[in-house]
Amino acid sequence: MAQAETLPSMDYMALVRRKRLYGGLILIVFIALMASGFDVADARNAGGFWNGITHVFDFPKEILSEAARDWRNLPGFLWQFVPSLIETLNIAAVSTLFGSGLAVIFALLSTRGLALWPRLTPVFRRAMDIMRAMPEIVIALVLIFLLGGGPVPAMIAIAFHTTGALGKLFSEVAENADLKPVEGLQSVGANWLQRMFLGVLPQVAPNWSSYALLRFEINIRASAILGFVGSGGIGYDLKTSLQWGQGKYDEVVAIFLLLFLTISVVDHFSDRARARLVKGGKAA
């Protein structure tokens, strides 16, 4: 009897000890990885970390002092860069629209229970994996080579990645949809399109829109970066001003300000809209 009472507690202590050992080992490996990783990155960087850390504020100070000196130019520059900002936003918006539209199709075709061709679901899933894995810059640069500059290559590149990223999330949402409405519609002779449109879409629309809004936030950033690599929009203006260097730092500050304000404002409103969508109108 006494043995039976001690056994579980001994087991428990052994378990705890083993867990602690594993935890400690993982911690040591993690710290070693971080430390050696930092060393490697530091060694392969042009300027070292300890050298650079003292100069982190040099560049901000330089551009801010120039902007402070020529502060009268700022409103004009802010106004001047609005068209490119709109282009950047347009790229993000259109690619989110196209991407989420395609993602809906891919998601429905790759969700168990909803797919039009159940056998092909793995094919669509793999396709989405590949689209998701493709960094935007790859497609953008190749398309710039083929189509020339302009916003269209960036738009296609972001839409491509968006399709993969949203398709996976959409399909996870659709997997949890109630199938009863779909069956009901099927019993009255609705075709696949009608079943999806009337049976599934109303259930998943709030979550899907919430994910699409989140993607829009991400895509604004992506579109600004792609502009920097050479595809129009405010990123391109930033690059040209930076290449000019001193004398145009007031422009750089204006662009930084515009980007920062836009991203913050969009984040804020989309945060609220998403809370309303997912929690059903009660959130502020």
Binding site: N45, H55, L147, R221
Partner: protein
Amino acid sequence: MSAITTNATTTADLRETVTRAFARRKMQALAVPVLILAYLVYVFFAFDVPGIAGRMRPDNAAVLLSDFWSYKTHVTRDNRTGEVSVAVEGERKGTWPPGTAPDWVTLGDETRVALPDGGRITYIPDGAVIARAGFGTIEVHSTGRAIALTLPEGAAMPDWISASNTRVNISGEGWRFSMTKARTETFRYFPGWELFFFTLDSPFHGKSVGELIALALWEPRLTPAHSNIAAMASDFWNNAMWRHGDVFAAMGETVLMAFLGTMGAGLIAFPLAFVAASNFAPARAIRLTLRRLFDFLRGVDGLIWTVILSRAFGPGPLTGSLAILLTDTGTFGKTFSEALENIDGKQVEGIQSTGANALQRARFGVIPQVAPVILSQLLYYLESNTRSATIIGALVGGGIGLLLTQAIITQKDWEEVSYYIILIIAMVMVMDSLSGWIRRKIIKG
């Protein structure tokens, strides 16, 4: 009586409101697609989509596609010195050693190049003779200033020849010939990525898979210093044409950027999240300041951080990882503190009732609740940052992103671009499944 009339009016009212609501719904359902359509029409013109047809470069597409699945070998004669060289893609690293050539080239006083469609090109001292199957013999002579083209008698100028005083171009199925004053050159196209495994200076070049296995396992050493398998590995790794070693090091750099950035951000954000969570915050003012700081870090965005940081740290992977670190500290600070605010207070109370202090309450009451959320966030971002690190690498000059942009900018090594793209996709997918696997292991087990 009156009760019935009110009832009737309410019914009528109700019907009216319902009908109106339906009408409004219909309008809305119609208005959204119309608005989207209007927006797309506006964008169609704002993006100058009609102008794309003019800017499009179908010839570039042809170059890209043919480069993707094939390579070309140049047989070049320098017309001034008379020297003939054979080189894969015309690159010095892919040049055949002097006096050697593939079997379709005959070196000698007159270099002869066999063409895939049965024709033959012979380099004569002042030009070249092209025997084209089914057409006849074309002669190209360099006569002092100009380059003269002689077609077979009675033949009209075909569309596969373009000739001017300074240059003659002739193209055929799988080959191309070009002559200028400076050089006479023939290109032959072959499928595949030549020299992918071994360059021409490696003793293993041109061996079949079977021969290579035999060499690796039992055949005598080709180089006395190393075993065959080690020599093979080193020849592959140090392949001058494809630079596998450098490419893999660059991929490691990219993953390193993502790892350092994500984990560093997590380490910084975790303690800060306690201070920024309403149920742990020591003071309201500190909490709100931290929240604003997180918003600021996120709002400034990776692009701006990259620009600022590369001024201080110079190009390289460290700059990239710091840019990721700064942006993600903002993101993690927000999500971690939200997770902390959503914990169940009962467990903390339970721990408190045993007399635990604040640190013990956090360790045994709070962390077990938030650990799964935080870990899955970290792992998810690790995967997504691998992709971002490719892009940031292109900006700051580090990792596979840099190699990719360099290869694209030169606009000729598209087979290398394809190789990098395939590797990047594989890298992101591996990171994706790795982070998914760890997530399942840690959170379930």
